[in-house]
Amino acid sequence: MLRFGLRQAGRLALGLLGAIVLAALVAAAGKHGAGLSAYANAVFARLVAFGRLDFGTSAIAANPAWDDLARRLPDTLELLGFGAVVAVIIGAPVGLLLSAGRVLRAGAPLLQIVAAAPVFCAGLGLLWLSERVLHWAGAPHDTSFIAALLSGDWDAVVAVLRSVALPALTVGAAGAASIQLALRRAVSQAANEPYRRGLHAMGLSRFEIDSTYLFPQVVAGLFRSFGEVASSLLSATAVAEWVFGWHGAADLFLKSIALEDWSVVGLVLLVFAGLTLCAEFVGAMAARALAETERLA
């Protein structure tokens, strides 16, 4: 486990190093004059500045880029968190159901019909449904869920939940697609293991075998796909923030690109890549820990 952990930590460190270099390459895009050497100098200067935790200044707001991001990041993380919860609530049962038997597995490709609509179409569909069918307009988003919860004001909590519901459903739908895929992949791999037949021949029931041996393997498979799920959630967050006017970090990324504010763009990229890489690391470690626990048990 220690060796595995060190190897994964090394991979994470290398990935983060690459993300820092990518952020420096982007952040230096607007700073160089003519020529490759000037650009290389700007990239090097950026890397040195990153080492001092100086992420540059926003060309639009003239604030430190980190301050701009720090103001917006909590909203994005909140949306990601709610989206992840929705993704698990929808994706896990769907994934397990579609892997449950041969007949249901055969119906899995039909799910592609639902999944074929891009995230922005799902967002617009939800917007239409909420306004025209449910006659329910989302409330404006002005406080965080944690802050509302800590204040103990239940009206504020309900207001936050109303404002986050539609964007979270949009993000969650994209995450659910990834989770059900990861679960189906894990089940199809685990279901072909020869030990299942052996244990059945020894007299264990299918339920016993699946709940004791197959289920942890499937959960470990889901953990291993954490990076993939995080990436799809982040992508969907960018679209949901745009569609629902949510002022988060992904919205900041899009606006900064439109206005060529490369310091902010580089920093947002670094944070997003870091989130995906960390999710990959946590997922790999959790999967390994689960496997070790099973082995020891």
Binding site: L14, G15, G18, A19, V21, L22, V26, A29, S99, R105, A106, A108, P109, Q112, I113, A115, A116, A117, P118, V119, F120, C121, L124, W128, E131, R132, L181, A182, L183, R184, R185, A186, V187, S188, G227, E228, S231, S232, L234, S235, A238, V239, W242, A250, F253, L254, I257, A258, E260, V265, L269, F272, A273, T276, L277, E280
Partner: protein, 276 residues
């Protein structure tokens, strides 16, 4: 029944996966025909305004209705589908070449160089492809959107091809070939030929679906296609203010886009739980 009939194995029934793939290819073929004949089938040229009254609901004369500028939605959807398919097709080719081919070749480079290339692709793959595409467009120009979408989808294809090629490189047939004196280049050519024969269509259709999603989303967000070359994403984005009261302005482009993505994904015939 003859003896030969007794021992001859009956022809295997096509599996569900084969049928689904076939349906996907038929769908893609139909879309290809529609796109090829777009200028003939469409009643109005692209972006022709005031063909009918603004925001007419679907009727026999205008089966998809009209938009806010009085453009025939059926013609516009057809033209936009042609733009989307052409751009996504080009992007998919870029993904297959940069991702699939270079990934396969990089795995056979000297170890350090190959791992360096894999590391770069891994870092780029950690950035969501949509954001990477928008970044590339921001750094270049909107006219490069198809190329940017193709390049953005490539890191994942690169990583997949690299890992597969490494697996093949350490397989038993590779060990046997090396032991019998077959050169590295000959082995690479052989693996490449078999790999492309077996996976080209799967990879290309998979890339087509991915690039179509990226391109349409990029256009929806305002970073992709620009009028008069409107694609489906831009059409849906332009209908954002009108679709609440006039559902047809967004519905038909959405159906066209979803059909393209669905057919491409079905044609890829993904394995159980495989990432599209």
């Amino acid at each position: 029944m003859s003896a030969i009939g007794d021992i001859a194995t009956p022809p295997a029934a096509p599996s569900l996966r084969t049928i689904i793939r076939g349906a996907g290819f038929i769908g893609l073929g139909a879309i290809g025909v529609l796109v090829g004949l777009a200028d003939v089938l469409a009643r109005a040229p692209a972006n022709a305004e005031n063909v009918g009254a603004p925001l007419l609901a679907p009727t026999a004369l205008f089966p998809f209705g009209t938009d806010i500028l009085g453009r025939d939605m059926a013609s516009e959807t057809l033209h936009a589908l042609a733009v989307t398919v052409t751009a996504a097709g080009f992007g998919a080719l870029v993904t297959v070449l940069i991702g699939g081919l270079l990934g396969f070749l990089a795995a056979r480079l000297p170890l350090a160089l190959g791992l360096f290339a894999r590391w770069i692709a891994g870092v780029l793959a950690a950035v969501p492809a949509l954001l990477l595409a928008i970044l590339l467009i921001g750094l270049t120009d909107r006219s490069f959107a198809p190329l940017a979408a193709g390049v953005a989808a490539a890191p994942l294809a690169f990583v997949r091809a690299f890992d597969r090629a490494r697996e093949l490189g350490t397989s038993r047939h590779a060990d046997f070939a090396r032991a019998t004196g077959i050169s590295r280049n000959a082995l690479l050519r052989r693996d490449l030929a078999y790999e492309f024969r077996d996976t080209f269509l799967v990879n290309a259709t998979r890339a087509l679906a991915a690039v179509a999603i990226i391109l349409s989303t990029v256009s929806f967000l305002g970073f992709g296609a620009t009028p008069p070359h409107r694609d489906l994403g831009l059409m849906i984005g332009a209908a954002r203010d009108t679709f609440f009261d006039h559902w047809w302005t967004a519905t038909f482009p959405t159906i066209a886009l979803a059909s393209l993505i669905l057919c491409a994904r079905l044609a890829a015939g993904l394995e159980e739980g495989e990432r599209p």
